[in-house]
Symmetry: D2
Subunit: 348 residues, 4 copies
Amino acid sequence: MTAVILGATGYTGMVLMRILADHPEIDSIVPVSHSSAGTPVTDVDPGLGSAIAAKLVTTGGRLVAIDDAAPDAADVVFSALPHGASADIAGPLAGRVPIIDLSADFRLADPSLYQTVYGAPHPHPDLLARSVYGLTEWYREDVRTADVIANPGCYPTATLLPLLPFVDVIRFPVIVNALSGISGAGRKETRDLLFNERSENMNAYNPGRAHRHVPEIEQALRIPPGAPQTASVVFTPHLVPVKQGMIVTTVAELSQPLSQQEAADRLATVYADEPFVRLSPRAVPQSRDVRSTNRCDIAVKVLESDSRLMLFSAIDNLYKGAAGQAVQNMNVRLGIPEATGLRIHGEF
Amino acid sequence: MTAVILGATGYTGMVLMRILADHPEIDSIVPVSHSSAGTPVTDVDPGLGSAIAAKLVTTGGRLVAIDDAAPDAADVVFSALPHGASADIAGPLAGRVPIIDLSADFRLADPSLYQTVYGAPHPHPDLLARSVYGLTEWYREDVRTADVIANPGCYPTATLLPLLPFVDVIRFPVIVNALSGISGAGRKETRDLLFNERSENMNAYNPGRAHRHVPEIEQALRIPPGAPQTASVVFTPHLVPVKQGMIVTTVAELSQPLSQQEAADRLATVYADEPFVRLSPRAVPQSRDVRSTNRCDIAVKVLESDSRLMLFSAIDNLYKGAAGQAVQNMNVRLGIPEATGLRIHGEF
Amino acid sequence: MTAVILGATGYTGMVLMRILADHPEIDSIVPVSHSSAGTPVTDVDPGLGSAIAAKLVTTGGRLVAIDDAAPDAADVVFSALPHGASADIAGPLAGRVPIIDLSADFRLADPSLYQTVYGAPHPHPDLLARSVYGLTEWYREDVRTADVIANPGCYPTATLLPLLPFVDVIRFPVIVNALSGISGAGRKETRDLLFNERSENMNAYNPGRAHRHVPEIEQALRIPPGAPQTASVVFTPHLVPVKQGMIVTTVAELSQPLSQQEAADRLATVYADEPFVRLSPRAVPQSRDVRSTNRCDIAVKVLESDSRLMLFSAIDNLYKGAAGQAVQNMNVRLGIPEATGLRIHGEF
Amino acid sequence: MTAVILGATGYTGMVLMRILADHPEIDSIVPVSHSSAGTPVTDVDPGLGSAIAAKLVTTGGRLVAIDDAAPDAADVVFSALPHGASADIAGPLAGRVPIIDLSADFRLADPSLYQTVYGAPHPHPDLLARSVYGLTEWYREDVRTADVIANPGCYPTATLLPLLPFVDVIRFPVIVNALSGISGAGRKETRDLLFNERSENMNAYNPGRAHRHVPEIEQALRIPPGAPQTASVVFTPHLVPVKQGMIVTTVAELSQPLSQQEAADRLATVYADEPFVRLSPRAVPQSRDVRSTNRCDIAVKVLESDSRLMLFSAIDNLYKGAAGQAVQNMNVRLGIPEATGLRIHGEF
């Protein structure tokens, strides 16, 4: 099978390259880059070993321009392009080859909401109805046949996996605080992302309702049975000097009594057969446990005296929060066993 | 003037040594250590320059045992000992020399609450009535004459400074999420604090009501005019791979309308003349801005549509959160201008 | 096939667990720990995903004591125990099951040198003759049949791979400077390895001839054709705040003219068919390129005007420098294709 | 006294701002920035506390353009501009106000060497004769009256301080390996300096004779009595993920016998009265010991059997390696006690 990667030189694209390089069902990778077309892949990304050459035969080991990528002939196209550009370039391919879009372009069902959040009209509103929100554990059946799979954002993935099982027993807004590694901000050459500005530093940013992932989270919270249509979050992301990793701490007021045991059982039941969601052996998960894996570790704590539900989760923002979940979706979409080629063991 | 430091080889003690070494009103420092008595200070702590010798004349440049420290003859005694030990050793000196206790021993007014939280009867309950909670900006007048100044914990300092001005307009519990650098856990030689276990890692711990600083925060919240006697917090600390630094994000439901401007004005008024509390020039403060300073940077954001108040603060956990505030209290107690010897400019 | 790991809870053992968990030819892992016997593996090491249970059937998912490990019945035994203990416990198994020893116990051929360096008589001098130095690329044929494979140290691995091809054209001593991540010091709970002591810090240590890896390097340098029996190094290791990673910079005086092209050709020829040694696409390799891989990236620069040869290498100290090379040796010893189960793609 | 800072928003300029803000003899600072003129200083650099306003009265707390800086009327001008620009802008002021130039523009006495190294003709070759190399401990008397003080580079400072006392007893080339924190590369918004590219990474760069600091080091080595005019270095800098800090490890062949005691005595004698050079209480200095100070810690080890001299040093690259030494030179030049306003106590 052949996979095309649009935007292969950003952090998400680079992680995708690594996963597909080790994926036993992918024989050929076509890495596409506008700025680096023609350059050997291992020059641009020396972390890749020369063994990747075996999967780059069709491009001679090089990055190629989109015009030379023949995406129609591929088995799957990943788009790791920025929003807007992603819909522009990947959109027209829909229906001819499965699209897994890692940008935000197909996540929001309502094009007017997209315009509000992203500041421009949606480039392909007609495709929204043919798109599926690729939070695999919750939309697996839809993913199997979708033309476009909108791969979730990292914050929504880490927030929703522990929270979705509880939408019927809590009051909104829930208070969500997230800590992200710096790679979540992408590979932009800006002052704020320099080593010297981030090392020994941390801060909240875009607090409350200002982050673009808020509408994505809220849309997903309103879908499950029992969820109020006014489900909302007060969401505060924080930047922390780690490269890859994300943890989320959620506090919700319970709308009905729930014991610690009932809460834990609910999670255990919902995720009983999921290879990539685990109740952490720790009281609270640590981000290193899931570093470079497709796993989401979760934990729950009920404060009975305060009628509060506390949820904790950890993912790798670039893996389960981006490239890993994208390959999980690819596996589902192409009929490959879902865990194929995805790492399960994290750091020590 | 002479200052005795009990527990000079922990992180708090080491920062105290640095501040006092540069303090123009302190002529003599007597560093006390049980385990390292007799060893030259610069051997134990090579970060100190040899210039410190001028302030260590009475100990010959060495750490001394408590029996050789003559605390009664000093102008001030700092205790950076662990809780329990601090009250045991520093307690008996009360009344003879001003005590600034950086442990938790004199923070909680109620000895039975101390026993619940710290698992042992309070060693000197009689001294609690002679102790003052040393959150300088709020208890300055009491500090001027106190026998024992209970220096606040780092989490309470960073939580209370932005929150205290608003206790009359919010509902409880408030949701407090804090991120701390690793030095907050002290200099314990435990596996969890090894570089390899903390680097590229982050996690919440002791969530909800489990952290020992929760009763300290709640006690302080119930004191201001207008504060309900049931003021409470859902508090979640997080460990983050920075050495020194702390940021706190607080979300509270408003009990009455409050505009962004009113909230900002309230902070500006309360802290108008404070040298160590600043409304950050940023929308949200960053921990590096206050690294190695006695400053607390704060910011506020009102989510009017959600009737929520959001507060943000940043301190250096070892400085304003421990040794710096201790020297601030010393200055007040000894009649020295309050900002003397305390750093105000942070990292870039 | 079944693999026993002695010392499964140190950093080397933990990385071994991860590699073997993903290794397609290993069906069963028996993790041995003196201190944690009886505890579920994923409690001790939550970074391991629950999928590892399938390979831990014989121990019920738990760590076991040596007495319950049945090493004789295994296909291979890895010892990640400290030196001394390793020879004591693994030594007696030699001849009954292949031993791959990651300690220093079987690296030095001369038992009196061992005693000098490690301060105690060698526990099993009789086994030294049956031991092979497992620098795979140079001793592959010996490894195929050895009773005991002495897995090289991390510093020797990174130093020798670029240097061995040049022993006949340089003068000794050569000047070797190495930078190591903190995990190279093991999982000891000592003050010097705390996050707060290593973060934003770096230093040389044991300089010159003081590090225990010096005799190991020199022994290996004296073996190739053309090497002088007085080959020696002035070796200075440095500790740097990274978790995993090692780079080595070597400067040697040339004893005969050598051009940049000749030097590069020599490396290219020697390592032409090696899957785990690569001439870096960079002028100088970076440690991230090989993070969590079994690869050694190398580069060479000839200073013709100064008649100096400069060599650069990068490895992951825990992977190619320990557990990865151990599995590479296992593959060779057990007749499994050499690259099986070993990562080749590093960080971005 | 008034100090003008040209280039106040780079890392060197930002550290200068901090030192001068706390300097008791400087009453007024005029921070100059081409790109940020008109902006409040604490907006551009929120790490500065509002107390700095007292020293910014003449600019109304703002950065100003060069045309509004009145450098002729100042007591000293610091130039933290890039090379080329520095000579262009600061050069014409020479003779009217003392210039302390932190760029490379006035370090090399030979303008043709400047052209070779920096790729352009020297903008003001006439000023070279009026310039002094500001390695304070070695050129103090010249600094007292110089029109232009060429502040040394960070690598030369850390290399020369331990090495200069030994030039008469060693053979050249000496082998110098240096490790630098990332701030040494400046505040450039380039991919290579992003947090995600430097974290958990390290590498050598520009090895051998390629770094621009090599001619500066060699020029200085040839000046002391007994130094050969062919003194040279094989110099390899390494980038390490710390923000501020530099350590240097030097290996030199002895040209005559020298004992450990003689070497230590030589250093002790040369630097006996220096406030900013210390023989480390450690066997080998650590960079944290000097973090944010103007101190250089040094150590020496003689390998008698190998006839090798090993030297170790640690500085803060932005402090003693740039802004701190610049203020040290200012103190000397303006007749202020040399240690005034300079930090001596480092991190713990």
